[in-house]
Amino acid sequence: MLLGHYNYWIVIVLMMIGFYIVIAHGNLIKKIVGLSIFQTSVFIFYISMAKIDGGTAPILAEGIEQYSNPLPHVLILTAIVVGIATTALGLALAVRIKEAYGSIEEEEIQNKDNLDC
């Protein structure tokens, strides 16, 4: 019963891991990594949702009748692009923050900000 939906369990576990990293880690890069994992879990969720019993990957080919639902794949392609853009922007921000604050640790940045005020 529990294992029957193993794909969802994987999604949930990944999601929790990603979320935990975002929340618990002070390192900006790690947060971005966590965020990526978090997003990826959703991608997996969509893709696993698209699976149809007996269906194969939705790449058109001769002699194949049954495909998985291609729509989620298409959607997630877009979402992946968005995810990459987010990650890239996040990393770029981290680099700029490092240049400006000399650190990528949340706590140190917060301390420096407090000193500024």
């Binding site: 790449i59 990393l91 650190s103 640790e105």
Partner: protein, 91 residues
Amino acid sequence: MLIAALIAIFVVMIMAITRAILGPTLYDRILAVNMFGTKTVLLISILGFIMGRPEFLDIAIVYALINFISVIGVLRYSDNLIFKDSEQQKK
């Protein structure tokens, strides 16, 4: 035999993951993850054959390229600034 190769690659991937978790240095981890990536390319190729979908090879190609870019990307930063403090100190 395809199945055997698949299993072998699977095992290697697990080994790579193990190394990635064990570390101990950041470079060990990148090395392991990179290896994991290249093995994924093989995995996809073999899976395509097993499932009778040679179209998967396209994915394998794209994956190989992305894998390369991501490793270079990560290293570009490691060469500069970011990883030095946090990781090296812990070592």
